[in-house]
Every structure is written in structure tokens, then in C-alpha cells.
């Protein structure tokens, strides 16, 4: 098991090298002069040139990339932000937790709501409940996060004045962002749960369990659901990844200082080290989530566990 984890983590290295290279290239070809942007339109040209030199922006592409990677690998340092002149790591450490909290609570919301809905829909297949929730789910997956966010603000913050529209300080602040970010995932997870439950329910071992005289609820939860959990957890893992990415929209609407907004702002300010750093951190988080999902498989599916031994 440990060997397996170690191997998976090792495999991350080339992937992340690729990520840095892609992002670095992309930033290099992005038009706009970071030094000019930092100093603003009013700064004299000499000052801009001096800053450009200091930032190493006059070096050829490969030299810049090599220096960045050297710094990253040898000193485990993500560099200094062009704009704030602060270590990139520090900026990310400040922003990442709120994104994680946001994506995490959205996933949690999606699981808490999506899985029970999916289970009930599958059990009561073709019932009114099933038809209604699945219709909502279809609308849910078609709903743009940012639109839902706006509607929620309009309803809960403006009209009903129940919930704050911005910030992330407390549980209360997180409700609207988590709901709007998670809504699509609720729909996806509910649909996924329903279809895997239906698939599993058709399996012989479910019939076996019933033939044993097992109670229907236990059959559904212990036998069907635990087996259906395998595809569901893949979907949850994928959701978490796309939520990390999609969080940028939610962060914008609800004024949450997360890493998505940090990245978009940094792109706008041509703060390349910060863009690099944020993408790298998000990718690492994404890969780790996927690894955790795989490990969770092994935990819930003995067939997979044998493979890792």
C-alpha cells in the first residue's frame, strides 16, 4: 500500500513538471509587460526598465524557465510576486484555505444532498419524487454557477435579508457560496447515485440479500449503496477537482479571496510567479484528491485492494 502511494506520488513529478512548463510558456507568450503593470502608466520608462531587469524579464525564455525551476526544486521556493513583492508561497497560503473551504463545503453539500436524493430516486424509481428530483437535477446541471449565485444573492441577501452576500468568515457566510457552487454537483452526484444504485440493484447479490430475509432498508444501504459508492466516489473526486477550478466564479460573485480569484487577478496583472504558483498548487491539490479517491476505492472495494498489495 505504502509502496503504491509512493509510486503514485512519484508519478506526480513529471506531470507537475509538465504543468509548470505549460503555464510558464503560456505566461511567456501572454502580451503585456509585468514591470509596466506593476509600476502603472505614470511611471518613467527608466524605472520600468530597471524593474524588468530586476525581475529577470529580459532573459531568454529557457533561462527564465530554468531559473524558475532551479529555484523551485533546489530552494523549494515559488518565487516573489511581481506585484506585492511578497513570497508567492505566502500569498497562496493566505488564499488557498478559503478556496479549499469553499470547494470542500460545496462538495459536502453536494454529498449530503445528492446522495440521499439519488438513493431515494433509485429506490422509488419512476415515482413522483424521482421524476421531480431528476427534472431538477437536469436543470441543475444546466445551471451556470454564476447565475445561480446571483439569483441566490437576489433572493436571500437582497429580498429576504437572511444571509450575507460576501465574505467567508463564518458558517453563515459560506452558505450561499457553497450552495451555488455545489448545486451543479448535487445534481451530478444525485444522477450518478441514482444510476449506479439502479445498476447495482439489478445485481444478483441484491436479490441474494433479499432472499436472506434482509430488511429492504438494509438491502439498500448495506448491500446496494456500498457497492454503488465505488462509481459515486469517482464522481465526487472529479467534482472536487472541477469545483476547485469553478470556484473562481463563485469567489468573484461572493467576494471571497480564494486562489481562483488570486490567479485571475494575477493573470490580469501579469504576476507570473503568482499565476505559476497558484496553478501548481491547485494541480497538486487536484492530483492528491484523485489519489485519495483511488485509495478510498481500495478501502471500499476489496477487489482493488488486492491489486495494490
Amino acid at each position: 500500500m505504502i509502496k503504491y502511494i509512493a509510486r503514485r506520488l512519484l508519478m506526480l513529478i513529471p506531470v507537475l513538471l509538465g504543468v509548470t512548463f505549460i503555464v510558464f510558456t503560456m505566461m511567456y507568450i501572454t502580451p503585456g509587460d509585468p514591470a509596466r503593470l506593476v509600476l502603472g502608466e505614470s511611471a518613467p520608462e527608466e524605472a520600468v526598465e530597471a524593474l524588468r531587469e530586476e525581475m529577470g524579464l529580459n532573459d531568454p525564455f529557457l533561462v527564465q524557465y530554468f531559473n524558475y525551476m532551479k529555484n523551485l526544486i533546489v530552494h523549494r521556493d515559488l518565487g516573489i510576486s511581481y506585484v506585492t513583492r511578497q513570497p508567492v508561497m505566502q500569498e497562496i497560503v493566505a488564499a488557498f484555505p478559503s478556496t479549499l473551504k469553499l470547494a470542500g463545503s460545496a462538495v459536502l453539500f453536494a454529498i449530503i444532498l445528492g446522495i440521499p436524493i439519488g438513493i431515494i430516486s433509485a429506490v422509488k424509481k419512476y415515482s413522483i419524487f424521482d421524476n421531480v428530483t431528476m427534472a431538477f437535477a437536469l436543470i441543475g446541471i444546466s445551471m451556470p454557477v454564476f447565475w445561480l449565485g446571483l439569483l441566490l444573492i437576489l433572493l436571500f441577501s437582497v429580498k429576504l435579508k437572511m444571509l450575507p452576500s460576501s465574505g467567508y468568515a463564518s458558517f453563515k457566510h459560506m452558505i450561499l457560496p457553497a450552495v451555488s457552487l455545489g448545486a451543479q454537483s448535487v445534481a451530478i452526484i444525485a444522477r450518478m447515485t441514482r444510476s449506479s444504485m439502479l445498476e447495482v440493484s439489478g445485481q444478483d447479490y441484491i436479490r441474494t440479500a433479499r432472499a436472506k430475509g434482509q430488511k429492504e432498508g438494509t438491502v439498500v444501504l448495506k448491500h446496494a449503496f456500498r457497492n454503488a459508492l465505488i462509481p459515486i466516489s469517482t464522481s465526487v473526486g472529479l467534482q472536487f477537482g472541477s469545483l476547485l477550478g469553478g470556484a473562481v466564479l463563485t469567489e468573484t460573485i461572493f467576494s471571497i479571496p480564494g486562489i481562483g480569484r488570486l490567479m485571475v487577478d494575477s493573470i490580469k496583472m501579469r504576476d507570473f510567479p503568482l499565476v505559476q504558483g497558484s496553478v501548481l498548487v491547485i494541480s497538486v491539490a487536484f492530483c492528491i484528491v484523485n489519489l485519495l479517491v483511488d485509495l478510498y476505492y481500495a478501502y471500499i472495494d476489496p477487489r482493488v485492494k488486492t491489486q495494490y498489495k
Binding site: 509596466r36 502608466e41 505614470s42 527608466e46 513583492r85 478559503s98 435579508k161 453563515k172 452558505i175
Partner: protein
């Protein structure tokens, strides 16, 4: 089975209801007499709290509460001592300052002359504030005694004293800067009425009253400056009582706040000028008649009103009326389509032409561009609006790739030099803010002259002439001046707005 399902549904509903109920609690009225904290919503978080690392409004707004500068502006706009006890201009280029004794930094150390020299030297060599302090010769500092020092400028600059009012000239503790190294921006130490406590990046900066402050003690002990980028959200927070002061109220919310009995709107026209620029070196904009034709084709009050919804003022000249030597009676142009067509025909474009209008992502600018596009259609000019992202926008403007563009320019002090030199001089052509590539020898000469000439009627004449030439040449079309629109709770008193976008929040008091 079905019973179980129903039970589950009921459970989920109950949980949902409980959550909403929970969320519904809180809020309530603020008791003004016991209020001890000021919460301010700004549009952006500060980028850094090191005054020499950045030059931007959000940072300056926080620095103003934490630091002091040697001089400040009084209510008449005159430069008066603050952290300095006195100052004098020894000659054209030499300034002498004597610092106030017994002033303490937030870390308890006393401000020394070394700290002052260190701070100004650091400002003089920092690229971020080079436009304000690049004129200081960093090697010219001389310490006279333990309270006074002198330094020289590289060349005479009458407006320089006004620059010293900017938070970029804040006095820092040399020891604190050196000890903190790279982390200084997160651990600022100043002498101001509030000291730094905590900074949740992107979200809020928390400050606490500095009990040893040399000036008047603020009326409250805690200040929180929150960053809420969405304008709508700032207003909602203000309405719900989540914040006491909200900056940059969007035009749509102006009426809403004015009608709200609990809230008050504070407005002040600022030093920014939004303008429609031409590339004066590219055809057809190198022809004055074309520029005039476009001006005649535009109904600027309508444009400004539609885009800014009553916030700000229509600009009549190149600089804000707040700035010294503003001239109100310069040549004006009315909206006259016929005349525009005539001029265009005269210039050789009877059927108009095709061109591009660039702007960046700022909504009001996009709106203005969209309206300009449709107004210019009437005289046959086909405009394609292109929205560039700020980074590439600046780069392309610097390279002279533009035809028409919309941008803003802010005079960072009340001296006309900062307001006019950037967008009109030869030195700043292209990369240095003269994005319209305007080259006029007379204007250039006058700008240089104005910079050196001490405040006097002679100086006034110089700047008046520049404004007149500008109005005739029209290298760019001034559209409007910005306005600081700050919403506050009714109980917030003594909010002093400045035209620079950062405001002395520490002066606020609470009362009925």
C-alpha cells in the same frame, strides 16, 4: 418502505429549515454610543503595506491610517508640517526638514532623523514610486543635527512638496524594515493613529488604535478594512449594517442609498480624468480636423450620464477642477453633427472611415465605448470596439498600436505638473503615459517651464496657456472626472474625503 422515504425527506427538510433559521439570526441595531469599531468596505485589497513597494489607492488608503508623512495638506490645500516640525525650501532644489520630537513608532521606538532620511532615500530609489520621488537625488541627503536634515532634487520642481503628502513619502522605522526583510509588507510599523494587527489577504486588514499617537486620539479603537470587489455586495453590506463605510458605491446604488434613512452618501469629484484618446501620429487622427469632427459628433454629457449614471462630472478640460490653475473658460465644443460631417469632408473623409476603439475591461469604459461607437456611426465612422485586458492594453498603448482608446489619468497631487506632464509631454511619449503620442513643442516647453517656476501668477499663466493649446489641438477628448462616492451609516460623522481616493478614516467619529 415508503414510510422510511418520507422520514428521510422530512429529515432533510428539517435540516434545511434549521440551517436557514440559524442563518436568519444575528444582525440587529448598532448602539452608537458604545460603538468602538469602524468597518470599512473597499473595492480592492491593498497589494502591500510597504509604502515604497506599490503605488495604488487601496494600499495608500490603509497606509494613510498607519503612517505619517512629514507634511500634509490643510483644509485650504496648503502644504503644512505634520511629522515634520518645520520645513523650508533652501533654494530651487534644496529642502530642509526638521522633525517633530518625541514621536513614537508603533514598536515603541522614537522617530529619529535617521528614520526620516532612510525612508525618503528608500522612496527615492524605489521604482514603484519613481513618478513621485524619482526626482530626489538619493546621494544628497545630509543630516544636520538630531532633528533636521536636507536633501536636493535633481532638477527644480515646484510641485514636489505636494508629492510629499502622498503615503509613498511615509516615514518608516529603519529598524523595523531591516529586521523584517522580505516580510515587512506584512508587518508594517509606522507612527500613525492606527497600528497594524492582522491581514487576511484579499479579505480584510485589521488595525488597532495606537495609544501613543502624537496627534488627536481616534474615537474608536478598532478599524477593519474589508475588500469587497463586487459593488453590489458593498452596498448590500452597507444596507445590512455589516459595514459602516463603503467605498466606490456604484451609480445604480446612489439613489438607493440616498433614499435610505439610515445611510448617507458622501461625494467628492476627484482628480481623475477619463478621456477618449487618439493616436496623434497615425492617420487620420494626425489631422486636427478629424479630431474636432469626432468631438462635434459626440454628445459627451449623454455619454457620461449613460455610462456613469450621474457619478462624476463631465470634463471640460484636461484636468480636474480640484487642481491648481484649473482654467474654466477654455474653448468648448458643442454636439453638432453637421459641423462634424463638414470637418470630416474637409479632411478628406466625406464618407467617414473605419477605425478601432480600444478600452480595458472596466464596465463604465466599455459602456462609454459602446455609446461612442453608435454616435460616431452617425458621421460615417465605423468603430470596432475592442476590449483588451489591462496588461496587454498598456503594452499595446505603449507601442503605439492604438487608433482610438479610452483611458483615465489621475493627478496624484493638487499640483498641475502631475496632472498634465504625463499625458502631454515629449518625455512621456508612449511608454510614459502620453499614449496619444502628442507632440507639441510649445506645450512641451511650457510643461518644463511650469515645473521649475515657483508658484506665482507667472506659473498660472503657463498652465493656462497649456490648457488653451490643449483645447485647440484636442490631442484627446476629455470625457469626465471621477468622483469618490462613499456610502456611510448615518451615525458616521467627520468623514473627510480627499480627491486622491484614500481618505483619513481615523478622523471619523460616531454620533446621532
Amino acid at each position: 418502505m415508503s414510510k422510511q422515504t418520507i422520514k428521510k425527506i422530512v429529515f432533510v427538510l428539517t435540516v434545511a429549515l434549521m440551517l436557514t433559521a440559524l442563518a436568519g439570526c444575528g444582525g440587529g441595531q448598532t448602539d452608537v454610543t458604545e460603538k468602538d469599531e469602524l468597518i470599512v468596505a473597499t473595492a480592492y485589497d491593498a497589494k502591500s503595506l510597504d509604502p515604497h513597494a506599490v503605488n495604488e489607492v487601496a494600499a495608500s488608503n490603509v497606509m494613510l491610517q498607519i503612517y505619517n508623512t512629514l507634511v500634509v495638506l490643510d483644509e485650504n490645500g496648503e502644504v503644512v508640517p505634520s511629522l515634520a516640525e518645520s520645513f523650508e525650501q533652501v533654494d530651487d532644489v534644496t529642502y530642509k526638514f526638521t522633525i517633530r520630537k518625541g514621536v513614537k513608532f508603533h514598536n515603541g521606538d522614537e522617530v529619529t532623523v535617521e528614520d526620516a532620511v532612510f525612508s525618503l532615500q528608500r522612496a527615492a530609489t524605489s521604482p514603484a514610486v519613481a513618478n513621485l520621488f524619482g526626482d530626489i537625488d538619493p546621494d544628497s541627503f545630509e543630516i544636520i543635527d538630531d532633528t533636521s536634515f536636507t536633501f536636493q532634487l535633481k532638477g527644480a520642481n515646484t510641485g514636489f512638496l505636494y508629492n510629499l503628502v502622498h503615503p509613498g513619502a511615509s516615514i518608516l522605522s529603519k529598524k523595523a524594515v531591516e529586521e523584517a526583510g522580505d516580510n515587512y509588507a506584512m508587518n508594517p510599523v509606522g507612527t500613525g493613529p492606527f497600528k497594524f494587527v492582522d491581514w487576511k489577504k484579499g479579505d480584510r486588514i485589521e488595525l488597532e488604535r495606537f495609544e501613543d499617537y502624537f496627534g488627536e486620539k481616534p474615537a474608536f479603537s478598532k478599524m477593519t478594512i474589508r475588500a469587497i470587489p463586487e459593488a453590489t455586495n458593498r452596498t448590500i453590506e452597507l444596507e445590512s449594517g455589516g459595514v459602516d463605510v463603503a467605498y466606490d458605491i456604484s451609480a445604480n446604488d446612489v439613489d438607493r442609498i440616498e433614499e435610505n434613512e439610515d445611510l448617507r452618501l458622501n461625494r467628492l469629484v476627484d482628480n481623475q480624468t477619463q478621456y477618449l484618446g487618439f493616436n496623434n501620429q497615425k492617420e487620420p487622427f494626425n489631422d486636427k480636423r478629424v479630431r474636432h469632427a469626432i468631438r462635434y459628433a459626440l454628445d459627451i454629457p449623454a455619454i457620461v450620464d449613460a455610462a456613469w449614471k450621474g457619478v462624476g462630472d463631465v470634463a471640460i478640460g484636461p484636468m480636474s477642477p480640484n487642481i491648481n490653475y484649473f482654467k474654466a473658460d477654455i474653448k468648448q465644443y458643442e454636439n453638432n453633427i453637421e459641423k462634424a460631417k463638414e470637418l470630416l469632408a474637409e479632411a478628406g473623409y466625406p464618407d467617414g472611415f473605419k477605425t478601432k476603439l480600444w478600452t480595458n475591461e472596466r464596465q463604465e469604459r466599455i459602456d462609454m465605448a459602446t455609446i461612442i461607437q453608435s454616435q460616431l456611426k452617425e458621421i460615417g465612422i465605423e468603430v470596432e470596439v475592442e476590449i483588451l485586458e489591462w496588461g496587454s492594453y498598456l503594452e499595446k498603448l505603449g507601442n503605439g498600436e492604438q487608433e482610438m482608446f479610452i483611458i483615465g489619468w489621475t493627478g496624484q497631487s493638487s499640483d498641475p505638473d502631475l496632472a498634465l506632464y504625463g499625458p502631454l509631454s515629449e518625455e512621456t511619449l508612449g511608454a510614459g503615459a502620453n499614449f496619444s503620442f502628442f507632440l507639441n513643442d510649445r506645450v512641451n516647453e511650457l510643461l518644463l517651464q511650469g515645473r521649475r517656476t515657483p508658484d506665482s501668477p507667472e506659473r498660472e499663466a503657463i498652465y493656462h496657456e497649456i490648457q488653451d493649446i490643449f483645447a485647440e489641438e484636442l490631442p484627446w477628448i476629455p470625457l469626465c472626472h471621477g468622483e469618490a462616492v462613499v456610502g456611510t451609516q448615518n451615525y458616521v460623522k467627520n468623514l473627510e474625503l480627499t480627491p486622491f481616493g484614500f481618505h483619513p478614516l481615523y478622523k471619523i467619529t460616531f454620533g446621532e
